[in-house]
């Protein structure tokens, strides 16, 4: 399939089109999330691994708030109608273009008519496909992030389907100047199947027995199959409450570890509701969110308790390091 010849193009900046040949297991449009409406019950959603999405956007010269595709385990097959610069970050799902392997964490140019496919998963769970100019689409309550449960954002609030068409937005920089830009090998994360996840004590830690945090940190928890973008159900040692698991519902956010009456923890993730009624024992630190996002059912989480101060320091250093490697582009 060929794009229109330049000479008949009426609009000088026709937005490059990407055709969805196969949608993959669960591919959604995500940006950094929908803020400002949690008081109305609107989930933040956004990329499960915001770090990987941000790296892709910065490699391409996009602003951090540009949307990309979050590709889960089994990737889509996409056809690029026009030439377009892209970067694939996060999980290595063996991306290829017309049969040739594509490098991860690197800007590559997809020629007009070329095809992007994903193969067998090598490591990680969620890959991010970012494109020069970002994936375009209507802003819904300030964000393009898909929240499938409430049908908000993305493509009418749902995952990609066969025959969908995506458009890239207008690129900020001449769209082939970034080709070859790459995240240095040493800076690329490895995604082990047992992740060391640091937590701070949660707002209701005092609703649990004194040793509950020590129990949480004493043995790895297994990620159960009923886990998704909303939350991870974890299986391991029971976490005992002092009296009851239930609290008067209050605000919850991604990273919170809540424990219902069955004493098995649930780690809330990007699509979590805005409020919840279970006691929250601990909160995963923001700096470890990327690692957790790359786990699959059957993988393990090994928890370590740190102080709030440590968590803040780590978050600052992760951001400073990213800014040093790839400075943000002001929109």
């Amino acid at each position: 399939m060929q794009g229109l010849p330049q000479s008949v193009s009426i609009m000088p900046h026709k937005q490059p089109t990407i055709h969805v040949v196969r949608p993959g297991l669960f591919t959604t449009i995500q940006d950094l999330g929908r803020f400002g409406y949690q008081r109305f019950g609107v989930s933040v959603s956004g990329a499960m691994d915001p770090w990987a999405l941000t790296v892709g956007n910065r490699l391409l010269g996009n602003p951090d708030r540009a949307a990309g595709l979050e590709v889960t385990i089994q990737g889509p097959e996409l056809l690029f109608e026009e030439a377009l610069s892209i970067a694939i970050t996060g999980a290595d799902l063996n991306p290829t273009s017309n049969g040739a392997a594509l490098p991860m964490w690197t800007v590559v140019r997809m020629p007009a008519g070329s095809r992007l496919e994903f193969g067998l998963r090598r490591q990680g769970t969620r890959a991010y496909l970012t494109v020069a100019g970002g994936i375009d689409g209507p802003l819904m309550l300030g964000s393009r992030s898909t929240h499938a449960r409430s049908g908000l954002g993305g493509l009418t609030g749902r995952a990609l389907r066969k025959w969908d068409r995506l458009n890239a937005g207008p690129a900020r920089v001449a769209d082939n100047t970034c080709v070859g830009r790459t995240l240095p090998e040493a800076q690329r994360p490895r995604y082990p199947s047992t992740a060391r996840i640091r937590v701070i004590p949660g707002p209701q830690a005092d609703r649990f027995t004194d040793d509950a945090l020590e129990i949480l940190a004493s043995q790895p928890y297994r990620l159960a199959s009923e886990s998704d973008r909303m939350g991870y159900r974890l299986q391991g040692l029971a976490l005992p409450h002092r009296t009851s698991a239930d609290i008067v519902s209050d605000a919850v956010s991604a990273g919170n570890i809540q424990v219902p009456a069955d004493r098995q923890p649930i780690l809330l993730m990007a699509d979590c509701q805005t409020t919840g009624g279970y006691a929250k024992l601990a909160t995963m630190i923001a700096a470890d969110r990327a690692l957790a996002a790359q786990l699959s059912p059957g993988d393990r989480l090994s928890f370590v308790v740190v102080t709030h101060e440590t968590a803040s320091t780590l978050l600052r250093s992760v951001h400073a390091e990213l800014d040093r490697l790839l400075p943000p582009h002001r929109a």
Partner: protein, 251 residues
């Protein structure tokens, strides 16, 4: 840095309080690196919720550096902020100051919404069960449910879902043992002493007694959400024909 289990981060607390989280209310507890929850009570009651709303309003108006949003709930307010743009200790000090003035902060008068509800029939599949448990007729349950002015304590669960309280004790009914796979948009349900409205078709475990034709959430309106925390809701029983007429009006 010695104590790993400290769960408050007040910079003004002395060494004696370092080992234990704050217990006196209101108290400030960290929810994450970018969120603090300020708890005003442990119960569902209008006074506590009033304090929460007054505090939330004061925080919004304070223009604090790095402030992102505040989420008022039954008994606490959670403030989200930019962890790089905000200074947590300054913010905590501000909150302490605001906590003490919230009793005197004038709130805007609450908006009262009149919401028509078709009780029973195909709109309220659980009305019969609620009536049976209360030893009332379905009509009496509807009359009782519509006899109270409800307070919107908070929104949560899904976009625009209001937690309203509290229903007359007589018709307070626990959730369904097994949630329904699909509840119609506009369905009005009871869970314990709470009542609520499902803005969208979704799974749900509340006992469904009726349905409103009024949309709670619409992106085509300038204000997408009909209800806000602190608003008041008055249900008015309508019949099936009126329901359909209003429903078509709204779509």
């Amino acid at each position: 840095m010695g104590n790993h289990y400290r769960s408050d981060i007040s910079p003004t607390d002395g060494p004696a309080s370092m080992k234990q989280p704050e217990t006196a209310l209101p108290r400030i507890v960290p929810l994450s690196e970018s969120a603090l929850t300020i708890e005003f009570g442990e119960t569902i009651d209008p006074r506590t919720n009033e304090s929460v709303l007054a505090f939330a309003t004061a925080v919004e108006q304070a223009g604090l550096q790095g402030f992102l949003e505040v989420v008022p709930t039954y008994r606490s307010a959670t403030v989200y902020f930019d962890p790089f743009g905000a200074d947590v200790s300054t913010m905590t000090e501000h909150f302490r100051a605001l906590m003490t003035v919230t009793n005197t902060t004038p709130l805007r008068p609450p908006t009262t919404h009149t919401i028509p509800v078709w009780y029973g029939g195909s709109a309220g599949p659980d009305l019969g069960d609620v009536a049976k448990r209360a030893a009332l007729t379905p009509e009496q349950v509807a009359t009782l449910h519509a006899s109270v002015i409800y307070r919107v304590y908070m929104l949560g669960f899904s976009p625009g879902f209001p937690y309203l309280g509290t229903v007359p004790d007589r018709i307070a009914t626990p959730r369904l043992p097994t949630p329904r796979k699909q509840v119609a948009a506009g369905s009005v349900g009871i869970a314990g002493t709470q009542t609520g409205i499902y803005p969208h078709a979704s799974p749900g475990g509340w006992r469904i007694i009726g349905r409103t034709p009024v949309p709670l959430f619409s992106l085509t309106r300038p204000a997408p959400f009909l209800l806000a925390p602190g608003d008041l809701v008055h249900f008015v029983p309508i019949g099936e024909i009126e329901f359909h007429a209003l429903f078509e009006n709204h779509t």
